[in-house]
Amino acid sequence: MEHLILVKNSGLNRLIHIALVLILSLIAVKAHAVPAFARQTGQNCVACHAGGQFPDLTPYGRLFKLTGYTIGERALPLSGMAVLTSNSVKVKDATATGHAEDGKPIFNTASLFIAGKITDKSGGFVQVTYNNYTGDTGYSGHTGSDNLDLRYADRLIDANRDLIYGFTLHNNPGVQDVWNSMPAWGYGVVPGSTGAGAATTPLLDGGLAQQVAGIGAYAYWNKTVYAELTGYRTGDGIFSFMTQGNGGQVNIKGTNPYARLALTHEWGPHNVMVGLTHLDVHQYTDTTSHSGPTDHYRDNGIDFQYQYLLDPYTVTATVTRIHENIDYGTLGTPSATVDSLRAKGSFIYQAKYGATLSYFNLTNTLGAESRGWTPEVFWTPVQYVRLGMQYTKFNVDSAGTNPKASDNNTLFFYVWGAY
């Protein structure tokens, strides 16, 4: 079986390579074009993305997603994205896991997106990612399913009421959310960025990404109250297309609930959101099995987002606090708690020049903690290319390569491109 997957993947790899070459040559030839959703609406990135920067959404971008990616008219539903990176750790150790290529420029990752409206009420995006470099063993050349979100949505609107409701099928808790205080879209989103180091994060922060299938229903009333209920199950069987090529499958027991409630308000050029998230997951202790004892994760999150949008300035600020309780299925293993506090503020001028400052504080009873800051500056000379530099400063990094936290401070440079 494993052999089969490898064979399939190498074929897929070749396909991705060919696609990439095609995309890159298209960029060279037809540099004024933009990715699939922008082609569908005919608008610039700045319409849906705050200050024209990924992944922060504007109020309009959020409504575009909530109404099922259906605004506009059908266009070529393909986009590509590639990221080149280079990093430098203060005290280098090339023999440490994930640091074999430190200090060298690398072609980190590339994605192919199939994205757009399907019918007048349904649409979505499917991302397939080729990870040229995984970090643990240097170059790996590995292709797998990445984020995916397929929707059906409708909207009842007139002068007195506005109700958007819909259904989503996706593969990463939080990827369906439209605010950037959700971990899936909030922190360390540039592929290869240092993020919060190797500290333990709650399950809601990527722990089930591309491992599960979620089917949810949501409603957004009068641009004020957003409510969602989603159930997650193991992404195998007919859902395996959503989790292909991502290593060992995480098995969770039955249907695991996720609930989300958010309140939003907009005035002048400002908008705010305050939200609550709950995720309850029973994961099989023996990850290769579909039976036996389970580890029980309960995540409770509270998050906040503020945005200011008025040309030439864009400000987005987010704060996300998640508390997780874990009861282990293995007899005698004590319960654990995992806490995550992350915050990020970004300032963008003329949709071209930007700076962000992120803070992370991950604490837990498992002994893999980190705390620190990441300032970043970036430049978007044209809307489909971004160059950025981050510096991650660790005050605490108990899971890092070097025992002294500040020795793990990392400078990170990237070039991002999408078409």
């Binding site: 109404t67 008219e73 007048d120 609107i157 050029p269 008025l310 040309d311």
Partner: protein
């Protein structure tokens, strides 16, 4: 479990496939059969508000605007003749496949909506703007706004409504008229705005944004 999963997927597929033709909630900008009012509610409302009274000043208030002016602007966007940055970034694509009939329906819809205005908040600045609005700046060859846009700034069959427009939008458009060729069909405004200084633009925009007009416009008192 497999049966349950299959049922869920089939249900989702059925919902997706089954409800594709309800034209009264379509967001399809390439379908000429969708009525302009539907597009106004389903798409345009995202930025301009369902009654054309937008919240973020990036997007102009359209409520109560002269229908002929709305039609003309949509055609300008569609034909790529209006090239101010926001117009290009947001409106060229959105308007690219609108039919003349849809444009007329959109224009009628917004012209019939009751317009909002900003609450006065800086009387000193607004009073300074009111003087320019009512009398112009004779020494600098700047005519009174009300001479063309009307005593209430409500517009006419030849001139657009400016009353209650977001101050930030007015400032940006006056700058477009003054220093760019982004709106070639508003040549008159290039001359009018030529000698306006930044502080004067700010003042007149602040005043204009607070003008409330009687509604409906032709109602008998």
């Amino acid at each position: 479990m497999k049966t349950a999963a299959l049922t869920m997927v089939l249900a989702w597929a059925a919902i997706t496939a089954g409800c594709t033709t309800t034209e009264n909630s379509s967001r399809n900008l390439g379908d000429p059969s969708v009525h302009g009012k539907t597009l106004a509610e389903q798409v345009c409302s995202d930025c301009h508000g369902v009654t054309g009274n937008s919240i973020n000043p990036t997007f102009p208030r359209l409520a109560g605007q002269q229908a002929w002016y709305l039609s003309a602007q949509l055609k300008e966007f569609r034909g790529h003749h209006r090239g101010d940055p926001a117009g290009f970034e947001y409106m060229w694509g959105i308007s690219r496949s609108l039919t003349d009939a849809q444009i007329k329906e959109l224009a009628t819809y917004y012209a019939e909506q009751k317009p909002d205005a900003d609450k006065p908040e800086n009387t000193k600045l607004e009073d300074k703007g009111k003087v320019i609005f009512a009398s112009g700046i004779p020494g600098e060859g700047v005519p009174a706004c009300m001479a063309c846009h009307g005593a209430e700034g409500a517009g006419s069959a030849q001139f657009p409504r400016i009353a209650g427009q977001h101050a930030n939008y007015i400032v940006k458009q006056l700058n477009v008229f003054q220093s760019t060729e982004g709106r070639p069909n508003a040549a008159a405004m290039k001359v009018v705005a030529h000698n306006l200084k930044p502080a004067e633009i700010k003042a007149v925009a602040a005043y204009v944004s607070t003008i409330e007009t009687k509604w409906p416009p032709h109602a008998e008192n």
